[in-house]
Structures are given as C-alpha cells and as structure tokens.
Symmetry: C2
Subunit: 395 residues, 2 copies
C-alpha cells in the first residue's frame, strides 16, 4: 500500500496560510509592471546632477508632483527640471533617477540637489521583484505569510492547494470512558485528544471516532466508519498481546494486517494494516508508545499524503546530548527535553514509564536511535519536535 497524493482544492489566498501549493505558481505579469520610484524624492536626469554636493548644490526647477494614484498620467521632464515623485508614482518621460528627499532641499519653487545621482538610482526596474513567466512559488511549498503576499501581488485571489489529510482516531477498550464520564478510577479517553492535537500540528484534520469496546465486531464497525470519513485511521490500544486485544482481528476482517510488532522501544506492539486502500495504524495504549507510533509511522504518512517531504512536516532542531546513550538491540524512541544553554541547545532524555503522560509534558521532541548505535555525551543530534508550538516550552 502506497498512499498517493491527495486531491487538490481551491482556497481564497487569505485563507491559505500553512496550506501546501498544489501547482507551481507562474507569474503572468511583471511586478512592478513599470519602472517605478521606490523612494520619495525628486526625479530628474542623473547627468544634470553629476557634480552636485552639499556645498555646491545643483538647482533645478520643480515642475510638479506625482503620486502613485496619478498613473497613467504622462508627464515630460523639461530641461533643468525635476518632479517630486512619491514612491510608486509614474516616472516623467526623460527622467532616469530619483534623488531621495533627504538628499535635496526645496527653496521656493526650486529644488537644490545635494548629492549627485546615477542613472537608475531610486528606481525599480519592471519585473525586478517578480518577472513575468517566472515561477513565483513552487509546488509542494507550504504557504507562509510572505508567500501569501506574493500570490496576492500577482493578482490572484485563489490558490490551488493539496487537500488536508484526514485522520480518524479510534480509542479501543472496555475500560475507557469519554470525557463526560470522567472517573479517576477509570481511564479517560484523553490520549485520543493528544493524537488529535498532534495530528492538527502535523497539518492534518483529526476526526474523533470515539471509543470501541473490546470486541472485534464493534472495532471493525468503527474502523469502517473511519475509513469512510478519513484518509487514514489510527487506533489507540487493543493491539498488545493481552486477552482482549482485538484490533488486529478487526483489521483482518476488513483488509490486511501488514505488520504487527516493530523493533522500537517503547512501542513494540505497534502495527499497521490496510483496508480499502487506506492505512490503519495500531497505536499502543501506553502514551509514550502511542506517541512513538504516531511520530514514527503516522506523521510521515500524513506528510506524504499532504505532498510534503516527511522530514519537513514537523520542525527539527540540532542539540547536544546531555548524556551518553548506550547502544541497544532495537530502535530507541528517545523522548527529549530541550534546554537553552550558552553554546546551544542541550537535549536531555526524559525518564518515566511509558504510561507516564507527565513525562511527555516535560519533553519537547524525540530522536529515533538505530540499533547498535550509541550517542556520546555532548554529541550533536537532530531532535524532531512534537509540534510547531514546542519552541515556547524549551527550558
């Protein structure tokens, strides 16, 4: 099973922040579309001002004032004249430079130029910002504030973006109660909200399917709903080797279990299946294992669906390991807390059982350490952050 790109949709440019561009955007015009002053000042012919200085100013007759809204007014520069032009105004015929207002002085109806100018000075060439026919923004680019402005500068009101991937999330277990039935002696369905928020942070739309009891038929019914509503499904719990772990059976009813059991700690009971051409991820019921499986399997899949290079979906940052990590026989999902120190960030492993949610609240991201690889104290490692908000929680 190979998730392909999702389809595209058209959105208003002002609503496109964070969306992924579906088709490269070529400019159909030059920006600016004509030679344009980019400072406020005096437009004239540069050669007349060549010898000007503060002590020996060159005096020109002020022939008029031009503002951007005067376009397309056509004016002609007479001999020994200058026009005041505001930034963006039309340039008089014959003028070839703009001298900044600070480098000139008005004396009655004349202007003294205090500094010699060169041809082209103070002017934007047509197409200097964006040339007609050039690729202004690339396919696959995530639209940022400045890109949004660029698209608007091309006169576009809408942009074709890749549809956001939808992830359906199902909690499994007789013991789990929904938020409205909170009971400290039961297990509240909070992990679904953690995965839901993490999916939003990774650019997806989460859909909460609620809770299925430990029964293959009920789980299969919910999975069917999820496959109908979403591009991928993630189950939480019910995939261990206990007496009531029925998620793999439920997947087998609808499609195929591709892998169950991975060489990663924590989270070795994670797995993945497929039904109706869509992936179903089995996330373990312990929170650290659950997050491991989300970040190692689900998030990269969501990125691919969204047309984004998986490594670019979430921020990653370089940091020095605060301790030596001994080599292991499996992959290790290292939960890391980042601390700002002079000389850079320090990555400190967070301890606590895999079921300790507060340990993840102390962490900012992770590294996936391959088998038989050790990390020296002080070694520079790349830490993938859990989300786009983590930088605010570095210590």
């Amino acid at each position: 099973m190979r998730p392909g790109l999702l389809g595209t949709e058209i959105v208003r440019v002002e609503n496109a922040l964070g969306r992924v561009i579906a088709e490269g955007i070529e400019s159909t015009l030059d920006v600016p579309c004509f030679v344009r002053p980019w400072v406020d000042g005096y437009s004239t012919k540069a050669e007349w001002t060549r010898r000007a200085s503060a002590t020996r100013p060159v005096t020109l007759r002020l022939a008029g004032r031009l503002f951007p809204e005067d376009y397309p007014k056509s004016t002609k520069l007479g001999n020994g004249e200058a026009f005041y032009v505001a930034c963006g105004a039309p340039l008089p015929d014959g003028a070839d430079c703009v001298i900044k207002a600070e480098d000139a002085r008005m004396v009655g109806s004349r202007v003294q130029i205090l500094k010699g100018a060169k041809p082209g000075q103070g002017l934007s060439r047509a197409g200097e910002d964006i040339r007609r026919g050039s690729l202004a923004l690339k396919k696959g680019q995530v639209i940022r504030a400045q890109d949004l402005g660029l698209i608007l500068a091309l006169g576009k009101r809408e942009v074709s973006v890749i549809r956001k991937p939808k992830l359906a999330i199902l909690s499994v277990g007789d013991e789990i109660v929904d938020l409205d039935h909170f009971d400290p002696h039961r297990i509240v369905n909070n992990y679904a909200y953690v995965i839901s928020a993490a999916a939003s942070e990774a650019g997806a739309i989460p859909i909460l399917l609620g809770i299925a009891p430990d029964d293959p038929e009920s789980i299969a019914a919910k999975l069917t709903e999820g496959l109908h509503l979403a591009d991928a499904v993630a189950t939480i719990g019910g995939c261990s080797v206990g007496a009531k772990d029925f998620v793999p059976d439920a997947i087998a009813k609808l499609g195929e279990v591709i892998a169950h059991g991975v060489r990663i700690k924590p989270g070795h009971v994670a797995g993945v299946g497929v039904a109706g051409g869509k992936p179903i991820f089995m996330l373990p019921g312990h929170i650290s294992s659950c997050m491991m499986a989300f970040y190692v399997f689900v998030a990269p899949t969501l990125a691919r669906l969204a047309g984004v290079t998986p490594g670019k979906m979430l921020p990653s940052i370089g940091a020095k390991s605060s301790v030596t990590i001994e080599k292991a026989t499996t992959y290790t999902f290292l939960r890391l807390s980042l601390k700002e120190r002079s000389g850079g960030l320090l990555a400190e492993p967070v301890h606590g059982g895999t079921n300790i949610l507060s340990s993840l609240s102390r962490a900012n991201g992770f590294a996936l350490v391959p088998p038989r690889r050790s990390i020296r104290k002080g070694q520079q490692i790349s830490v993938t952050l859990f989300g786009r908000l983590e930088h605010a929680s570095f210590n």
Copy 2:
C-alpha cells in the same frame, strides 16, 4: 505606556491547543488514583516466584481474570494463586507484582511463571504520573498536544487561558487598492495580509481595517476604530518623510507619537505612538522595512500582551553565517535564508531592495545585528524564524 497582561477566558480543553495557561493548574487527585498494573500479565506475590526461570518455572493456580472495567471489584489472592490482570485493572488484595504475559505460559487452568518477579514490578504507584497537589502545568505555558491530554487526565473539561491579543491593521495611501480592485499599475493591499498572517503565526487575532487615504482625518478615524476593536494597531505606510505621510499627524490627534525614526536598517522611518493606553505601531510601506518593524516592535509586544516571554513567541534556531557581515553604525535587520547542510544550518543573507517581496519569500527569518558588531563567516548566530511554518521551507 506599558501593555499589561490581557484578561483571561475559559475555553474547552480540546480547543486549547496553542493557548497560554492563565493560572497554574494544580492536580486535585493522584494519577493514577490507585496502584495499577501497567502491563497485561499475571498478578501474584513476588516472593512465590523468586526462583522461577524458563527451565524451572513456578506453577500457580489461575484464580480469575481482571480488567480495568472490573474496578472497584475486590478480590483476594489465595495461597499459590495468580490472577490474569489487564493493564489498568484493579489489583487483587495480597498481590504485589505483575508478571508480563510474555514471561508466563498457561497450562490448563494453571500458569507457569518463567521469570522471577520483584515486589512492585509491573505496577504504577498511585500518583506516579501526577501527584495530588502538585503543579501539573505552569502559568504562561503554551498548551501543546501532550499538555492538553494532561489537563483532561485531571478531570478538567475547561481551562483558563489568556485572551489572544487582537491587532488591528490599517494600510495607508491614496495609491493602494483593495484585492477586489487589483490593477498591476496600482499597489494592491497585499502587505496587510502579510502582516495579518504573521500576526496569526505569532498567536494574535488580526483585524483588517482596510485602507485609509493620505489624509490625517481619515487616518485618525480608522485608528479610532482600530483602537476600539483591538489591543494594538499597526499602520502600514504613510510614516516616511514624503509630502503625504500623515500617520504621525493622525496619531498626534488621538494621543502621542512616542518615537518616529529608529536606528535600524531597513526601516528607519518606523515608529510607535500610543492612544487610549494602546500602542500604535507605524510600519513603513516597503515590505522589508514593514516586516522589520513588525518583528522587532509588534511581535514582542503581542507576546507580552499574551503573557509569553517575547523570545519564545516565535521559534529561533542556531545557524552558521555563510558570509562575513561588516559592522554598521545602525542596527541591521538581516533577512536570512536557512539551508540544511551536513554539520548544521547555514544562514545566508537575502539580498534585494527593501521593496522586493520575493526576497522575503526566499528568507526564513532574521537576525538583528547591533551597531558596530560584525559577524564572521562561519560564526554561529541565532535566527528568529518569521513564523511556525518556516521549517518546511529550509533549503
């Protein structure tokens, strides 16, 4: 003028992603609230299993099966017995450990323990995750996915957060046309959308006030509207030294211009005023200058209003300068493009006039270099990213 903290509001926990916690959250309960198996397996008394091994298993009678939903069922462990317990199930009286299912084997109604256990093994202590009375989350913390789960684990459905700051944005200039009247010969109001999106990325709510003509009365009327609707106002354009730069005059009508002209390049015509106790920021009309003033003056103010340390509102990242930057007499707002290279990120200055929007599309963030400070090629510098989406655009 010193912007204070904004007020607070109550939001549902599931809608609190990215919000700032207004009051530290103390736990009113132990999580878990009782001693709880955290693996699926066999609960018994550890001392009976002490000598167990795969070759010499210890055989116990299986007295029953317990699941989390059986709570608060009370069961008693008899001599030589074990109970199957699922993760989270109530523990039988007298049991002091749980042996993982993998380390045991069922033989008829008996269970063979293949590995000796220690007291406490496989069990979570009450309060092991969060202790009653402890501070689960701090005031000022930005709520991430895992924090959201933690708040729900405490049985809370709502959380008190600091209100998002509102920034009203006003474009100024006779030459500017709104998006619906795009004309390549005019200047479209796209910078307002850049600042609007940048404000969203910095955690604020942008309010677009539209366009004011170059007339102090009209500008003042729009500013009054902005001051009524928002916590701060940003104007774009109309603050230079040209013939029609009336924003400072308009501010002076309503309150006071505190500073106009800053020692930063680009953007030296930026300024700040205050009216009705609220800040008004004058952003220059050239896009690089405008973004300088937004990131150097507006974004830190929005952070303070939101109760977040200014340096934490936007991500910053360490990178090596690709070139030597000579010292200058003013502060320099250095637009930087980040490139991923082996050995870390490379920060490359982006060139182009201050009015070249596409140059900002090539950049990812900035450094503010103090006067008389030079940067050596290869020197490690801290780059503040323009937003939370920039990591996807590193080259």
